[in-house]
């Protein structure tokens, strides 16, 4: 059963399909915002299949093992977190004490693997990208942890299933002032975790030509793209579970509501990405350590006061 969960549903296969469709939705909405037609629905599938079939070039001064291992670890970490979130949403008592902390650190593994892989490739543009990714990781984790702590205090439990159960009894955390502030902070942190504009300084297509992914090609690049697509599916579900009552499968129209919430979050992320220019890395750090950390602390205090 665990193997089935990990490989098929809700793990690797399901997360891949859902993530690629989400990625396509993002591209399509972007195209419509720019008055273009946009790609057909199978576009992201074609991209990934094509990348899997291409040659993997290894740069001359790269460290081969680290360079090739990084995408595999990133991909399996994304699949693992997708599996855990899916299983714990279906069965609230399946978790263990402190699994929300495990989520938090598995969610950072894809970023860390990007840093390691880019550093191992030995290219100048990759190095700049990886140094920026390190800074951004340090920046956005601070408000993200504060918001998660706020939720843990509010639900008075360290388990993921417990938080969803609390929301089933007391109403979603989002429907309070502290919840709304926390949701905004978490949404911007998710934007940075996915590396989308305005927080795409490490990738920076027009400036670094791909940045952290610059030296990757073929199947290795495809694995990174897949890992990112899976995170694109996982992180909104994570947000829904923490703030908006989770995916309540047994509850009549629960799945329909979950899909609508999911689409709303995706479209919000896409619109933020299409209406903002890229920030410099120092502006990103100021933004996360200054304004957003302050907002997160305000949300925390409000939630302690019970508002």
């Amino acid at each position: 059963m665990e193997v089935f969960n990990y490989l098929v549903f809700p793990g690797f296969l399901f997360a891949t399909v859902a993530g690629l469709l989400t990625w396509w939705l993002d591209r399509k909405v972007t195209a419509r915002v720019q008055y273009r037609v946009g790609p057909p629905w199978y576009q992201t599938f074609a991209d990934v299949v094509k990348l899997m079939g291409k040659e993997v070039l290894i740069p001359e001064n790269a460290r081969k093992t680290g360079f090739l291992l990084a995408p595999i670890v990133a991909l399996s970490a994304s699949a693992l977190v997708a599996t855990m979130i899916g299983v714990f949403n279906m069965n609230w008592s399946a978790g263990f004490v402190g699994d929300i902390i495990v989520f938090w650190y598995i969610l950072t593994i894809p970023s860390i693997m990007l840093i390691l892989g880019a550093a191992a490739s030995g290219g100048p543009l990759s190095s700049v990208g990886s140094s920026r990714e390190i800074k951004m990781l340090l920046a956005y984790e601070v408000p993200f942890i504060i918001v998660i702590t706020m939720i843990i205090f509010k639900a008075d439990t360290l388990s993921f299933g417990g938080i969803i159960k609390y929301q089933a009894g007391h109403g979603p955390i989002l429907y309070s002032v502290s919840g709304v502030i926390g949701f905004i902070v978490a949404l911007l942190c998710v934007q940075a975790k996915l590396g989308l504009v305005p927080f795409d300084a490490p990738e920076a297509e027009t400036e670094l030509g791909g940045g952290i992914l610059y030296d990757y090609s073929g199947a290795a690049l495809g694995a990174f793209k897949l890992a990112k697509a899976m995170l694109f599916y996982t992180l909104p579900i994570f947000m829904i579970s923490l703030f908006w009552g989770g995916v309540q499968i047994g509850n009549g129209l629960g799945i329909l509501w979950a899909v609508l919430k999911y689409l709303l979050i995706i479209v919000l992320i896409t619109l933020i990405r299409n209406t903002n220019p890229r920030l410099r890395i120092d502006q990103i750090m100021k933004f996360f350590w200054g304004k957003l950390t302050l907002l997160a602390i305000v949300a925390f205090i409000l939630s302690v006061l019970g508002i």
Binding site: V37, P39, A46, K50, G53, L213, Y216, S217, L221
Partner: protein, 143 residues
């Protein structure tokens, strides 16, 4: 036709190699990404790194300084890849042919590096965006 080729035909990522062009062709290339032509409909996007690319879009004449860089870029591209020679200059040298700074034409340089390279010529000064799309269709039919 295998799955790989089918996927490749639906998703061509292009890297733009500017070998000292006059910028006229480059502006025509940008037109392809605008709402009027929107080549993302066919899965064609511009990427920033030759390692991600399936196609090299080469504009301009190749002078002595650019030649080693062009060869390096071709080596850095993951195979299979297609070379589009965009504009009269890159196809046959245009008015610069035989000039002191144009020792060889671009197709000669690429064929010397890789005899099996797929090269598509898109003539014109500059070619229309429609000509570019027609060139891509022709290249895809031989893949």
């Amino acid at each position: 036709m295998g799955l790989k080729t089918a996927a490749l035909k639906k998703s061509i990522w292009v890297f733009h190699v500017a070998c000292s062009p006059c910028n006229n062709c480059d502006i025509e290339i940008l037109d392809l990404l605008t709402p009027r032509f929107d080549v993302e409909r066919f899965g064609i996007i511009l990427v920033g790194s030759p390692r991600h690319a399936d196609a090299l879009l080469i504009t301009g004449v190749c002078n002595r300084h650019v030649t080693p860089r062009l060869i390096e870029t071709y080596r850095a591209t993951a195979k299979p890849c297609v070379c589009f020679l965009f504009g009269a200059c890159s196809c046959q040298g245009n008015v610069f042919k035989g000039g002191y700074n144009v020792p060889r034409l671009i197709d000669e340089i690429i064929l010397e590096e890789d005899p099996n390279a797929i090269i598509v010529y898109i003539p014109g000064c500059p070619p229309k965006p429609e000509a570019m799309i027609a060139g891509v269709v022709k290249a895809l039919s031989v893949l």
